[in-house]
């Protein structure tokens, strides 16, 4: 776990990542709070807080007496959300750093193409 951010946010993000990568498919059951706690070696209350965050956002839903499931359509919603964040978290710092180093926009575009083909 990374020290700078609350663990429950990191847990929520890990579950989101698993949904994005497809390892947690829509309409399948996700591990229980206690299983998350044991796996990531964190307090069960903290794991529960992370899972609840996704329930409130509608990414997961509760089936009474059975457990948590991935909501249908949540992958597409996460992709849309993450694309917005991509601009702030990756694109803007990249462009800022490139400007600092005197890399022109054309050069930057070339570098991205080369990176992709490498």
């Amino acid at each position: 776990m990374d020290d700078s951010r609350p663990i429950f946010l990191q847990i929520a993000e890990k579950i989101e990542n698993d949904i994005l990568s497809g390892s947690l498919a829509e309409e399948t059951q996700v591990p229980s709070t206690n299983e998350f706690a044991a796996f990531y070696r964190i307090n069960p209350a903290t794991a529960g807080k992370g899972v609840n965050l996704l329930v409130e956002a509608g990414i997961l839903y509760k089936k009474r007496g059975i457990g948590m499931f991935v909501t249908d359509g949540s992958r597409a919603r996460l992709v849309a959300q993450r694309r917005e964040q991509f601009q702030d978290e990756y694109l803007r710092p990249l462009v800022a750093e490139a400007a600092k180093l005197g890399i022109s926009q054309g050069q930057l575009a070339d570098m991205i193409r080369e990176e992709k083909s490498a």
């Binding site: 990374d2 020290d3 609350p6 206690n34 044991a38 990531y40 070696r41």
Partner: protein, 296 residues
């Protein structure tokens, strides 16, 4: 939420020494609570008071709503694993585990047997022939298998190796999930346990310096590094927990920053890094170093 422990203005003096100094806090039911601090901070004294093994000089203690002193109703629900528990030398671990159910009504002998196998504890060997780590594992097994509604672990793992400590953490989390109870974990190995804790109480020289849930302590401080002039300009008007400088470079540890403040610091070429709970406690509990004040 119900409070299992309520402490108000608790003070304990030994002659001239004030070991616990006007301390007040509560512990909620079914949480894993960290009791952290330096050697001699007053952790063990506090736990002895909470378990009725010593008398308070002043102030009040309520455990399960009652005073713990000579109170069988309270103490029957409490398990206190001490750092240096002594056992009769000619005993074996088997004797310890056989007598445990007399004190702990919820004792689970099957679970104890599984833990003995996990820790590879030679139960037939006499206590005086056991290593320091093996003695510690007896305490850890008693603490877990007793399933007491309120369990104190005071530095439970003196001499336990890294593998055994990991087994302890894993078993604690598992068993806590299945049998929720209140656990007070006192330790110096702060980084190892910080993810397990729900709330944290840090004491120093008998006083409470942090009493908060673990998530709010996490990220409550940031280290800012960069050119000395930039760093000092950034630190103006902020609570500085720690400052270090070498040549033209300085680092300061400051209290929580907002997203905007973080972004502004990064734009100004400063580097930000998180402060772990252990570093935070080190910085909050060490004597301020004079030379930094002068060079500032």
């Amino acid at each position: 939420m119900t409070a299992v422990i309520e402490v108000n203005n608790l003070t304990k003096r030994f002659g001239k020494l004030t070991a616990v100094d006007d301390v007040s806090f509560t512990v909620e039911e079914n949480t894993i609570h960290g009791l952290l601090g330096r050697n001699g901070a007053g952790k063990t004294t506090l736990m002895q008071l909470l378990t009725g093994q010593d008398f308070a000089t002043s102030g009040s203690i309520r455990v399960f709503g009652e005073s713990p002193v000579e109170n069988a109703r309270v103490l029957g629900n409490v398990c206190f694993i001490k750092e240096s528990q002594k056992y009769p030398e000619d005993f074996t671990a088997t004797h310890v585990f056989r007598s445990a159910p007399w004190f702990f009504p919820d004792w689970d002998a099957d679970y104890a047997r599984r833990l003995i196998a996990d820790f590879r504890l030679p139960v037939g060997r006499r206590i005086k022939k056991l290593s320091r780590g093996q003695l510690s594992s007896i305490g850890v097994i008693v603490g877990l298998a007793s399933r007491a509604p309120l369990t104190f672990f005071d530095e439970p793992y003196l001499g336990l190796d890294a593998v055994a400590r990991q087994i302890f953490y894993d078993r604690l989390l598992e068993d806590y999930s299945e049998h929720p109870r209140t656990v007070i974990l006192s330790t110096h190995l702060i980084d190892e346990v910080s993810d397990l804790l729900e709330t944290e109480l840090v004491i120093d020289e008998g006083r409470v310096i942090i009493d908060a849930d673990a998530e709010s302590v996490r990220g409550s401080a940031t280290t800012v590094a960069g050119k000395r002039s930039d760093v000092d300009a950034f630190a103006v008007g902020r609570e500085v927990l720690h400052r270090d400088a070498i040549g033209g470079i300085a680092t300061v540890t400051v209290a929580r920053l907002s997203e905007m403040e973080r972004a502004a610091a990064i734009r100004n070429g400063l580097e930000l890094s998180p402060v772990s709970l252990q570093q935070l406690i080190v910085q909050k509990t060490q004597a301020p170093r004079q030379e930094f004040e002068q060079s500032a």
